[in-house]
């Protein structure tokens, strides 16, 4: 059985935040009377991650995804629980540990803003104590994979967001980390650039058997890169497993897309399932997953069907379903 490279047991991280009353008088009052409230950013989460796994942290804004990543990378001190990454306690920030992981934040810049990216790469080479040979080999590979050879000597502030993100990734990967924490790595990028980065991350995982933990609001990132999903809501884990299992558990319906040879009425279509969209010669139906095959053959035999497709609902809809189910359970 493979040993987990990351082990998190009953992790909690709480923050004390100042609660200000609205308005001018509230500001004046806060001079002598400050109210604080405790925010449970992460609340009793446990999980293990094995070497080479690719995990997607899924959750709404403020769910605790980024906080968990920050604890795993040693930036935040846990309020409770145990965390071990590569056998180290991240909070101790030992250099032997720091040489084996990298944290990339899509909204943060680790490159020196006023200097060309190559300068930051040279600095990271020194910080991570890489040999000339090692550095050149990795740099050449990364530059080629990400196709940024022509921007290495241009000031970072003059690069496009996509070029900058690619260079951020290079800076973070020069020491070929075994564990990679990616926080919204494709945020703000156009679809082509998103795809390029996803392909690159997948390649990196395969090539180095690196463990990758990713948070993203783009479900396509998770779908394409990750083989396991960890859904977090209000600081608590609500699902941990294969993406396929998530779909099976929470996608109640399948989507049937139909094209007809003759017009079919909506009333007729409603006999087979929930009509999501329809015009005279095409329609989209939602049918319970268990009955999808049966309903498809019924449609083929009873209606003038020219073409029929059975599809899973988009992953965004499934995730919405997960959160709605959780909210319903909470209210019950």
């Amino acid at each position: 059985m493979p040993q987990p490279v990351i082990s998190v047991s009953h992790l909690s991280k709480h923050f004390k935040v100042h609660k200000k009353q609205p308005g001018l008088w509230g500001s004046v009052q806060s001079l002598w009377n400050r109210e604080y409230q405790e925010v449970k950013a992460v609340d009793d989460i446990s999980f293990e991650i094995n070497e080479g796994e690719t995990i997607g942290f899924i959750g709404q804004n403020g769910a605790g995804k980024t906080t968990t990543l920050k604890v795993l990378s040693g930036l935040l001190y846990p309020s409770a629980g145990q965390v071990s990454v590569l056998g180290f306690d991240p909070w101790k920030r030992q250099p032997e540990f720091q040489k084996q992981f990298a944290l990339v934040m899509g909204q943060k810049n680790q490159l020196w803003w006023d200097l060309p990216p190559i300068e930051t790469f040279e600095l990271n080479k020194a910080i991570y104590e890489l040999s000339d040979k090692e550095y050149k080999r990795t740099l050449n590979t990364l530059v080629e994979l990400l196709d940024v050879g022509d921007v290495l000597n241009i000031q970072v502030r003059k690069l496009s967001l996509g070029q900058r993100m690619k260079c951020e990734l290079i800076a973070a990967l020069l020491h070929t980390p075994k564990v990679l924490f990616l926080d919204e790595p494709t945020i703000g990028l156009d679809v082509l650039m998103q795809k390029a980065l996803r392909d690159f991350i997948k390649d990196y995982n395969k090539k180095f058997n690196a463990t990758i933990i990713l948070t993203s609001h783009y479900m396509d990132d998770v779908k394409e890169i990750c083989d396991r999903a960890l859904v977090i809501d209000h600081g608590q884990k609500i699902f941990d497993g294969q993406l396929k299992k998530l779909i099976d558990s929470y996608a109640r319906n399948k989507i049937l897309s139909l094209i007809f040879t003759k017009p079919v009425t909506q009333k007729k279509l409603a006999e087979f399932g929930e009509v999501k969209a329809a015009d005279q010669l095409s329609a989209t139906l939602l049918v319970p997953r268990a009955q999808a095959t049966k309903m498809a053959s019924k449609l083929l035999s009873q209606l003038p069907v020219q073409d029929l497709n059975i599809e899973e609902p988009p992953i965004e809809a499934i995730i919405r379903e997960v959160f709605e189910t959780k909210a319903d359970q909470t209210h019950d």
Partner: protein
């Protein structure tokens, strides 16, 4: 060690990016010295000694103050609390490099840049005013250099201390402003502290402020005997150790409360 040398190179380069700001700032420093030197030169046309300083000593004092301002008091860490509060230091915290070491190198690069310019400016001032500058003895010169280095270290630690406020609040301007005002009047930048009433001067020696430039000028000018120099350096060392221990403790507490903001 290579990492710190590489960082020093980068910090040095980075300081030259905004050339206009850099040259304007240096020009301001230059003008400030010209003004002081002009005022004191005029004062000495009518009298040979003012407040116990003859013209040569006072002009040397002005030259030294300008030099010490750049070597000891100027710092790259004025915005450290903002960097802490905004989570900017996270990039350094996750890397195998000491954060204090990183910040120290940024500060050293800033000071080296200042020294580079102050040497040019001093040469120009020398050509304009042709002053007589009495050089210290070899021993006093060496002790002066040591006191300057120690003053710079103390200022670095105090800046770390102010930076730590960023762990809890973005509101650092108040205490920093008070500190600047105190430095302005009590470090000996505007006037030598020994012109103050003796009781006030003694009280000031209970604070770290005279060690930001006044004590160094006194060593250079030969106004302190060897015993006095020893005690002044010992006090300065005491301040450094004491402030470092407090700073380290506060940073350890601060890093536990650090929110690594930014997302």
């Amino acid at each position: 060690m290579t990492k710190y040398i590489q960082l020093l190179k980068l910090s040095w380069q980075n300081g030259f990016v905004y050339r206009t700001s850099l040259f304007m700032w240096r020009f301001r420093q230059f003008l400030s010295s010209v003004m002081s030197l002009t005022v004191w030169t005029v004062i000495y046309t009518s009298q040979s000694s003012v407040l116990g300083y003859d013209q040569t000593q006072m002009i040397t004092y002005i030259f030294l103050s300008a030099f010490l301002q750049s070597c000891i008091l100027a710092t790259a860490l004025n915005s450290l609390s903002g960097r802490v509060y905004s989570g900017e230091i996270s990039a350094q915290l996750v890397k195998p490099i000491s954060l204090f070491g990183y910040l120290a190198i940024e500060d050293v690069a800033d000071k080296l840049r200042n020294i580079f310019f102050i040497l040019i400016e001093t040469s120009l001032l020398y050509l304009i005013f042709i002053p007589t500058i009495p050089l210290p003895t070899l021993l006093n010169g060496a002790l002066f250099v040591l006191a300057v280095l120690m003053g710079a270290v103390m200022n670095f630690i105090i800046n770390l201390l102010f930076g730590a406020i960023g762990f809890w609040s973005p509101d650092t301007w108040g205490p920093k402003f008070m500190f600047f005002i105190m430095v302005e009047f009590t470090a000996g930048k505007l006037f030598p502290l020994d012109i103050l009433p003796p009781i006030l001067e003694k009280l000031l020696y209970l604070t770290p402020f005279p060690y930001f430039s006044f004590v160094q000028t006194q060593i250079f000018l030969g106004r302190l005997d060897s015993v006095q120099i020893f005690w002044q350096l010992a006090s300065l060392a005491g301040w450094i150790v004491g402030l470092y221990l407090v700073t380290r403790w506060i940073w350890q507490r601060g890093l536990r409360d650090y929110a690594a903001a930014g997302q």
